[in-house]
């Protein structure tokens, strides 16, 4: 694994004379950059759909039983009641689909699909992925799966409604929507595995000459480790899904105990012998690592962005890599911390608690190293930087609230309350999504060949940042107050009545937060076609992607690459400027110095003659 094994970029790219058909170029493309953009556009569409679901949920929680303004009266009668208010049935479907869509069709595709595809080949100096065709298949499974899942709303009985965790027996009672959900997740898992195999092979085999593993930028490291997690976890999810499917249709009883009676669903089962908890073990064995799938690539992107805009080397680069490896490893063995109150043996609770607490350590390492990166930097607060800075601070809150849940006695109280919902969103929205925003702005010039509008991007950031905190921070307080998660109407409980004003406050913030995302779309949509033309290296960054034209042609690089150093040589005393690209050869560097020297002398002469 020493140096790169093959290097296929041989400048054939720029000379591509022939014209690809529209379909080949935009639809069934095998070019990693186009696939990245396809992932991006599809996932952003799902972001708005999932966001709309969240707003319906929030409306109901703030104003229980009141008609949805404006559109309520136009929605089908299976969703809303006569007055146009969300029904309890639809509410349960909404929260299930919100969680499922956000996780499987927004965050994972954006972090892994978009950044993995766009950044990996470019950052390691390859001309494409190792298996371009597989890559295309990996993308196309994803919209297919998303639509299958969404189709649940149109079938009889509605969509899946057992929460995104789909605990049986609730989920093992056949409904068409639940089946669609199972099949959709299967496809998504397939898509992930194809992607992951591709990333691993590409990273191991296709690095530019001279690039050692420890010359790789953190984004590449993070997606690489993520891909390994995917390979380990996803097959377990797939088997769990298969078993659930069989329980639904073939009368098996993997998850169903003896003599189960579900009158609400007209179901009795006398045969059995299964275990509901088995699903939880299998599910979380995948889905706990999945939360790292949703944060590690974000950590990678943020490390790169922070270093670039602080104009400083990433603090403790190797420690950062080892921290990611540690998080991935520990992440796979702590799944049981979702099950402290599940009826699992409390002795296991103890062991899962200890391993969970330990996982906070590499997270702390990462935080302090990010701070170290900013220390004595020369920070430039562009939109990517603002989002990256917000990521770190929000991730700290998400991490700290995680400690409460890790502590088993405290979890007794806050488990399945809004504290968890607050925590999830600090990690997934404040964390993952801010990292995604950082990355999307950072690579926008490379993706589109144009600059986004900085002013609009800053407006988007600030409104998002403020309303995000206004939305999700108070949820911790609701949780401390004991408000259960996934309830349709909190006002029927006396002890939750005092929280109604807070619920309204949250909803107003959520509306602002939701609509603020339109700014992002307007900015990107407009700038993609009308923005100022981007230079090759607008951020004066070191990594290889900035050596390619903006946007890079099919095949990526227009000149052969040779890597001489690590990715974070910002402000190196060796260099004339405050950055030193990975590809700058010692000769070029010497040349730059001569040039610089000459300029200085000329300047001096000029001043002398002036006197």
């Amino acid at each position: 694994m020493e140096a790169a094994i093959s290097s296929e970029q041989h400048g054939h790219a720029a000379s591509h004379g022939h014209h690809e058909s529209f379909i080949r170029h935009y639809i069934f493309s095998t070019d990693h950059k186009m696939i990245a953009k396809q992932f991006m556009v599809t996932a952003i569409i799902f972001l708005f759909i999932g966001g709309a679901f969240a707003l319906f949920i929030r409306w109901q929680l703030a104003y229980p039983g009141q008609p949805i303004p404006v559109i309520g009266q136009f929605l089908p009668s299976t969703w809303v009641n006569d007055a146009g208010a969300v029904t309890a049935e639809w509410y349960t479907q909404l929260l299930t689909m919100h969680g499922s869509i956000m996780i499987f069709a927004v965050v994972i595709p954006l972090l892994v699909g978009t950044f993995g595809n766009f950044a990996i080949p470019l950052m390691i100096g390859a001309d494409d992925m190792a298996f371009p065709f597989l890559n295309m298949v990996s993308f196309w499974l994803f919209p297919l799966a998303g639509m299958l899942m969404m189709a649940g709303f149109l079938v009889e009985g509605g969509s899946a409604a057992a929460g995104w965790t789909s605990y049986p027996p609730l989920s093992a009672v056949a409904s068409t929507g639940q089946t669609l959900w199972i099949v959709a997740l299967f496809f998504i898992g397939f898509s992930s595995i194809l992607g992951a195999v591709n990333y691993i092979t590409t990273v191991l085999n296709m690095r530019a000459p001279g690039m050692k593993l420890f010359d790789m930028p953190m984004t590449v490291w993070a997606v690489f480790i993520t891909a390994i997690i995917i390979i380990i976890g996803t097959p377990v999810l797939a088997s769990a899904l298969s078993m659930l499917f069989m329980d639904n249709f073939l009368n098996t009883s993997f998850f169903l105990p003896e003599n189960l009676i579900v009158p609400a669903r007209d179901m009795t089962r006398t045969a059995g012998g299964g275990q509901p908890l088995l699903w939880q073990h299998l599910f979380w064995f995948y889905s706990h690592p999945a939360v790292y799938i949703m944060i590690l690539p974000g950590m990678g992107v943020v490390s790169d962005v922070l270093s670039t805009f602080s104009r400083k080397p990433l603090y403790g680069y190797k420690a950062m890599v080892f921290a990611i490896v540690a998080i991935a490893f520990l992440g796979i063995i702590v799944w049981g911390h979702h099950m402290f109150q599940s009826g699992m043996n409390p002795l296991l609770g103890t062991t899962f608690m200890v391993s969970t607490m330990v996982i906070a350590v590499p997270s702390a390492i990462k935080t302090f190293n990010w701070l170290g990166t900013m220390w004595r930097g020369k920070m430039e607060f562009t939109a990517p930087m603002l989002n990256a800075v917000a990521f770190v601070s929000m991730f700290v809150i998400g991490g700290l609230s995680g400690i409460f849940m890790a502590s088993t006695p405290v979890d007794v109280f806050i488990h399945d309350t809004y504290f968890i919902v607050g925590h999830i969103h600090y990690v997934l929205f404040g964390g993952s999504l801010f990292a995604i925003f950082a990355g999307l702005h950072y690579w926008f010039p490379k993706m589109s060949g144009r600059m986004y509008n900085e002013r609009l991007a800053k407006w988007h950031f600030w409104i998002t940042f403020v309303s995000f905190n206004g939305t999700f921070f108070p949820m911790h307080i609701l949780g401390i107050g004991g408000m259960m998660r996934r309830i349709y109407d909190p006002t029927i409980y006396d002890f939750l009545k005092p929280f109604q004003p807070m619920n309204e406050f949250i909803t107003i913030n959520a509306m602002i937060l939701g609509f603020a995302q339109l700014l992002l779309v307007i900015n990107f949509g407009y700038s993609w076609f009308r923005g100022q033309k981007a230079k090759r290296n607008p951020w004066r960054a070191n990594t290889l992607e900035w050596q390619a034209p903006s946007p890079p042609p099919h095949g990526n690089f227009d000149r052969p690459l040779q890597v001489y150093r690590g990715p974070y040589e910002y402000s190196s005393p060796e260099a004339v400027q405050d950055y030193l690209p990975q590809t700058t050869s010692p000769e070029e560097l010497a040349e730059q110095h001569r040039h610089h020297q000459k300029r200085l002398e000329q300047q001096q002469e000029a001043t002398v003659t002036q006197d």
Binding site: L260, S393, F404, P490
Partner: protein, 256 residues
Amino acid sequence: MLDWLPENVSIFGEGVDHLFSIIYYISIAIFLIVNVIYITFIIRYRRKRKGEKAHYYHGNNLLEFSWTALPFVLFLFLAFYSDGIWEDIKYSSKTPNADVVVEVMGQTYMWHFRYPGSDGLFGRRDQKFISSTNPFGIDPDDPNGKDDYTTINSMMIPVNKTVLVRLSSMDVIHSFFLPNMRVKQDAVPGQWVDVWFNSRKTGEYEIACAELCGSGHYLMRATLDVTSQEEYDTWIDEQYTNVLASLDTAPAETNE
């Protein structure tokens, strides 16, 4: 923020709340430290001139080691401190002797409670007898079960007594949540789990379901009545009389 916690009336709840506040203050401290540093950096280390170089520095192993070791010690401390309380409330070896035993069965969307009759003995139950009219699956042939009585959505217990709850579900997973007692435990079909608590105060409290169990999940609400021992005894006698009365009017049981 912790002021928002519902009033705690349970004995072990004090320990839980205390731990809650410890973690709360530690979190606030860490949050403040990190953010003060952070904001200071953001203000101090802005780039002011073009071409200005930053400090060229790749890191420091001693620092790296200390901010690995410190959180490690801190979190391990929290884990062990938490575990003491966890064992007290969850390990069966540490459960105090029960004064009152109640069986609780979740069913979408209600809670069934079962008390032993005057004999203090529960009738045998078996999974195979469970039906919508016999949620606990009480064996009809067991004489001990004849005088057992059940309630729906209302539970009564005496104050200052250790109450042991045997918990299960007949359909999907529910979660037995008593905010004021700091009790939460999933009720899983096909499996019985014991939880205990001891209320120091009389009053009416709410019981909720904390695990999504269908669209009526939010409706799965019951009341917990904590009364004096005398009141509790009176109530029990009343229930018992009712049960006996219904046994008398019921058709003869042994009719083979």
